[in-house]
Amino acid sequence: MLLETQDLSKKFRRNGHEFFPVKDINLSVKEGQLVSISGSSGCGKSTLLNLITGMLTPDYGAVYFNKENVFEMTADRHAEYLNQNIAYIMQGDGLLHNLTLSENIALIHWLHNRENVSPEKIIKLAQSVGIEHVLDSYPAQLSGGEAKRGAIVRALVNHPQLVIADEPTSNLDTGNAEKIVKILKNLSLDGTAVIVSTHDQRFSEIVDAEYILGDC
């Protein structure tokens, strides 16, 4: 099993009351599996993804990546986990707006490898999602679909074993949303595990497993 969560729970306080958007979640993801997490807004989809990345600390429970507890990783190992083992595509584009798209892509490779990724590799990855013509543009100059596909290319440059995407088709037109769904499905077919949080029904038709968060 590539990823497992064990009784994963996180509570927040709102208007003086404690509530658990994520409570006793147990999920598992194998290599090459496409898993969706759905549920209404505010039901804890993003919170669950943040817990899986280790960027949010649970109140109890654990996340195991290749049997290694994410919350027992050292700071350096956790940074390596985020950079080399998984890739997180956050809502919005999550690109650094003072860098061009190709610089954004190159940065993630340079951070832990301390070497520049070859321009050919960046172009090849960009061509696979149809954004090679905007590599020298800044994020502010990209359309929503281009920025989202740019974030996917950035996520793939280090060949992660698991890609986590938070609402990857939100705010996109039908054409662009379909492109993203197809890209993520192909990724899983190539052996990369993918977890998406989504409301998009298109994913329901292609996922290997679906988790629905309710009662919120």
């Binding site: 990345t53 940074a79 950079n83 080399q84 999550g94």
Partner: protein
Amino acid sequence: MIFFVTLLAFTMFSVSIISRSTENGLSSVVNRLGADIMVVPEEGGDSVQSLLFQGTPCTTYFDAGIEEKIKNVEGVEKTSPQLYLATLSASCCDSQLQLIAFDPKTDFVIQPWLKSSLHNNLSAGSVVVGSSVNKKAGDTITFYGIEFKVAGRMERTGMGYDSSVFLNFEDAQKILESPNIEKNKDLKQVDNIISTVVVDIGTNSISKVSEQIKKELSGNSVGVYTSETLTHSIAGSIANFKDLEKFTEAISFLSAAVALLSLFAITINERKKEFGILLSIGTGHKQIFQIIVTEATTITIFGAILGIVIGAITVFPFSIVISQKLALPYLLPELTEIAGLVIKILVISVSTGICSAIVATKRLLACDASELVKETE
């Protein structure tokens, strides 16, 4: 943020240079007065102090015979007369300055200052000008209708000598005999007058000799000043300026520390989105730390250098104006002292900036990375 660091460095540099220059000027006057005792007309004591310390021109005099009486006082080793004559801003004179006449044969106060600017003795018809007088060697200068040749220019002393012109008694006598002297309304008598007698007492007791002089000259309407009484108020000013400098440094440092802490906290807070993204793609805490500290160091070094340069451009060319406005002796610090001050300001600015950045970074990294990422949603 650069603007604030620049302002901080500018304030620290300018205030330090001005207070140290004043302190140097005051110390210079105390150290270089040259005479143990000065005997001046009773009503002219304040004028002589203003002349010596601030360069305010004055004309004051008493009968030259008084010098002979002082010479005979027990404990007096050397005496020399001086005559202070203010020139006029009228057609007879080039500008309003202080003329100081001395006797080259007996003088032990003025001539040590002239050694570096005058290779031979001051010949008849020649004068030496102070560093603030706008004349150079070889120029001519006119007082009370008499033209003099400028034989040299004195180095800066930080005292009233800088705006004075020095000449010997023979030439001073020619001025006193000139018909134009009538324009100086302070001068009621021109024969056999001097303004002060400077006294050297060797290793004798200054208080005893000064008491003896007072006794000998009682009834002559003279003031007897020891170097200590002349510089007493100045010594107080030196202490005040040292306190002012320390106070300014402390206030600048404290306000800089508080302001930089706040500014870095605000700046880092505004950039949560950027740091959240960096953390989400696997940037380590050490790398985030390096990014922020490197930025802080660059900003504070640049800001501090800019502030020092602006301070130097503001303070150095206007030192004469500042000196006049302060009405105090003013002598710029040596280059080594200025270099030390520059290093001190750089160290204070940069270390304060780095400490502020460290505090702000620690607060940033204490948050869950997802909290920072939320800024993007």
